[in-house]
């Protein structure tokens, strides 16, 4: 593992030009993904999904159904990959863990007073440890956006580092909640703080705030990952979440990933989609590629 020798001054993180980043992001959408590249891309996107349910109304039964769907996306299409993980609240981790069994699908749990993060360090640590004890493989934490806006970067940094320590072997995803940050400059700064503090993943959004993931925001974060990799040799994974519900958009994200970080990141160890309805649209597109016609949405299970 590469070591990080110096922690940079986060008030001096690289600046982002809004016009330039948006223009670059839109350029990826001009790529025309066809035939075998499309099928490969769709299957890969499917395999990168963190199938998510984060509702107050979640029950054991609902989570079990989701887990079954995670393993059997669409049995009418043999040879499909499974999703990467199922993402639930801490109280549902044990249910999910049991339902997924030895499928190889990871259980991710949000923690740290998700989604607002408005609680004490102690509560956040206990929230995290509870999820870990229940068997979570991955923890999705939120940063303290209020402190971040106040310029308390050390506070934000230390909090991430503390949660990372509590995670032990589990991989830590740090949610920046970019919809609350207000500028690309701040997204970049928060990304840098998270990576230097020990994040394994940086993640755009909770999905509870609009706007959630956008291509320019994700691009800012991918470029931050690249700069971090240039500097330290350490790879960080990326997870855009929320707002990606169409297969075509998912392919645009993969094009972007491929052209910014290259093929080493093109797998579910290094990239995830946080999404719930994306899977069915991808399935629909895959069936269209296979049969030549679109099928009704009723042919795809809603779990």
């Amino acid at each position: 593992m590469a070591e990080i020798k110096t922690i940079p001054d986060f008030s001096l993180t690289p600046r982002i030009d809004q016009v330039g980043i948006e223009e670059r992001a839109s350029r990826f959408t001009k790529r025309s993904i066809k035939n075998e590249t499309k099928i490969k891309g769709l299957k890969l996107a499917l395999n990168m999904i963190d199938l998510t349910t984060l509702e107050g109304k979640d029950t054991d039964g609902k989570v079990k159904q989701l887990c079954y769907k995670a393993c059997h996306l669409h049995d009418a299409y043999p040879g499909l990959p499974s999703v990467a993980a199922v993402c639930v609240y801490p109280s549902m981790v044990a249910v999910a863990k049991k339902a997924l069994g030895d499928s190889g699908i990871k259980v991710a749990s949000v923690a740290t007073a998700f989604p607002s993060g408005q609680s004490t360090r102690d509560v956040k640590l206990r929230d995290t440890k509870f999820a870990i004890n229940q068997g979570a493989d991955e923890i999705d934490m939120v940063i303290s956006r209020g402190k971040f806006h106040q310029g308390e970067y050390n506070f934000v940094f230390d909090e991430i580092a503390a949660i990372k320590e509590a995670c032990g072997e589990a991989r830590l995803k740090v949610i920046l909640e970019t919809g609350e940050l207000g500028s690309y400059d701040k997204v970049r700064r928060a990304s840098d703080i998270a990576m230097y503090a020990g994040a394994d993943f940086i993640k755009t959004s909770t999905g509870k705030i609009s706007p959630a993931a956008t291509m320019p925001v994700t691009l800012v974060m991918l470029e931050a990952i690249r700069d971090f990799y240039y500097k330290t040799g350490k790879k960080i994974a990326m997870k855009p979440a929320g707002g990606i519900s169409k297969a075509k958009l998912a392919l645009h994200y993969l094009v972007m990933l491929n052209e910014v970080l290259g093929e080493e990141w093109m797998n579910n160890e290094w990239f995830r989609f946080g999404a719930s309805s994306l899977a069915n649209d991808i399935l629909m597109q895959l069936m269209k590629q296979k049969t030549g016609v679109y099928q009704s949405a009723d042919y795809f299970a809603l779990d």
Partner: protein, 491 residues
């Protein structure tokens, strides 16, 4: 230790370049086997009886053969333009003129796809660029100048702007349709008639434009389009009944034209070569700056007179900028221009490819270090990998002369003054780019750089409302915007 680590850190982009083909269909492009000269509203056989071939530089296959106009044909076209000017166009009301120009704009939009495919077939540029840039911008120029036709007195208050007469226009091969639009639209809006000669390697979209003009019912002779090589251009420049020469092309030919028209009454605007400096300061948004450098030099295979062919990077960020630039270059897709995913298409002609390759040799002989993207290029057709040179000195030819290809010369600087001095240390002065997060620095730089167009935190942006033109040996006169009217009027 840190540098060692940097060397092992390598991103891989092979899969991003190997996408399944996504070819634009050629079926919309109707190209005749042979094209004649468009004179007085009709296609006429050349009195030279000669035709020359125009090929697709992407695969070297013949597309069509095109008439070669000799001096008798040029004379015929000029006479037609003169007659149309005196008898019809001069008397046509500004409002009517503007209706014709609008109509041409609309028809370009209607046939956008066909024009884009033909532009790509004939010139080698990626379909993404001809579809998203060349054709829409060409239509926009017509739209924009249509609006000026009846407002000339507002553009030049308290004057009585008068048209000149017959404009001889010679355009280059890098943006064939767009350059035709840049030339024809303001000339018509100001009440002049036109004889236009497209470049010999890329005549087809201008001839398609002739078809559109014919279909738009523009009075015969108002626009005449004649094809041919240098001799045809010379005959046009030297014709005694021309009132104005508008030329876009190389500085060498520009000088010949200026000599030829010295002592005559002909007005001229010349838009010539360039060797633009793109300047990156250490406080710039670096990833966007790198993207700007990519757009600056690899847009249209670098066949752009305002291409950012010299890059100046502040010393403190040189290493990281170079690393980012090289990785970005690796993700560029070079290949069949008709593929929608192609970023860099074919070099326009064998002749131009030879010029570029000559400079690649010169650069290496001068001791500069060459880096090229590792991508494969097609075996047939004219292609050049995106190329950068480091360890370049101001005295190197690759830093002084216009290469007109995807070749970038990179130097470093320490202070603002040094950047300004080096950027201005060239006989050219067409364009420049400045990359910094600091507004005051932008204003300081833009007021001291001697270039006609300076972009700040962006590059190669064009709009019909914005004037374009050069300082020094990059020419004189402005095209585009309100300024673009002046070259076609006495005020």
């Amino acid at each position: 230790m840190a540098t060692k680590k940097n060397n092992t850190v390598k991103l891989q982009f092979d899969s991003s370049r190997n996408l399944a083909p996504a070819l634009e269909s050629k079926s919309v492009a109707k190209i005749a086997d042979q094209y004649d000269l468009f004179i007085n509203g009709k296609f006429e056989k050349p009195s030279s009886k000669k035709y020359f071939n125009t090929i697709n530089p992407a695969n070297e296959e013949k597309l069509s053969s095109v008439a070669e106009a000799n001096s008798a044909d040029v004379n015929k076209a000029v006479v037609a333009a003169r007659n149309a000017y005196e008898k019809v166009w001069k008397k046509t009301s500004a409002k009517e003129r503007s209706k014709y120009i609008y109509r041409i704009a609309r028809m370009i939009q209607e046939r956008a796809r066909e024009l884009a495919v033909i532009e790509t077939l004939d010139g080698g540029k990626p379909i993404r660029e001809s579809r998203d840039f060349d054709v829409p911008t060409a239509a926009n120029h017509f739209f924009y100048y249509a609006g000026w036709a009846d407002k000339l007195e507002y553009a030049f208050p308290n004057r009585k702007p008068q048209s000149l007469g017959v404009a001889g226009q010679i355009i280059p091969w890098n943006f064939p349709l767009l350059m035709a639009a840049w030339k024809i639209a303001p000339a018509l809006a100001t009440g002049n008639t036109v004889v236009l000669k497209p470049a010999e390697t890329t005549p087809l979209t201008a001839l398609k434009l002739a078809e559109i003009i014919q279909e738009a019912d523009l009075p015969p002779g108002v626009v005449n389009i004649i094809t041919g090589a240098g001799a045809t251009g010379a005959a046009l420049v030297n014709h005694p009944d021309i009132n104005k020469i508008a030329f876009t092309g190389s500085t060498d030919v520009g000088k010949i034209i200026q000599k030829a028209i010295a002592g005559t009454n002909k007005k001229a605007t010349l838009e010539l070569g360039g060797k633009a400096a793109n300047i990156i300061f250490d406080d710039a948004p670096l990833d966007q700056a790198v993207e700007g450098v990519i757009n600056g030099i690899f847009f249209n295979q670098g066949h752009v007179c305002c291409a950012g062919s010299r890059l100046f990077v502040q010393e403190s960020v040189y290493k990281i900028v170079l690393q980012k630039l090289k990785d970005r270059m690796e993700s560029l897709i070079v290949g069949n221009p008709l593929d929608k995913n192609t970023d860099i298409g074919a070099i326009n002609s064998k002749q131009q490819l030879d010029v570029i390759n000559k400079y690649l040799k010169i650069g290496q002989q001068e001791g500069a270090e060459m880096f090229q993207s590792s991508c494969n290029i097609p075996k047939k057709g004219f292609y050049c990998r995106p190329t950068i040179f480091t360890n370049v000195a101001q005295s190197n030819r690759i830093a002084q002369e216009e290469i007109f290809g995807p070749v970038l010369a990179i130097q470093t600087f320490r202070t603002e003054d040094e950047a300004i001095e080096k950027a201005n240390n060239t006989p050219f002065g067409l364009s420049a780019g400045v990359w910094t997060d600091k507004g005051s620095k932008i204003f300081n730089m833009t007021s001291k750089l001697r270039a006609g167009v300076i972009w700040a935190n962006t590059y190669n942006k064009f709009d019909p409302t914005s004037p374009f033109g050069g300082y020094k040996e990059s020419g004189f006169g402005r095209e585009g915007g309100m300024h673009g009217l002046e070259g076609y009027l006495t005020v």
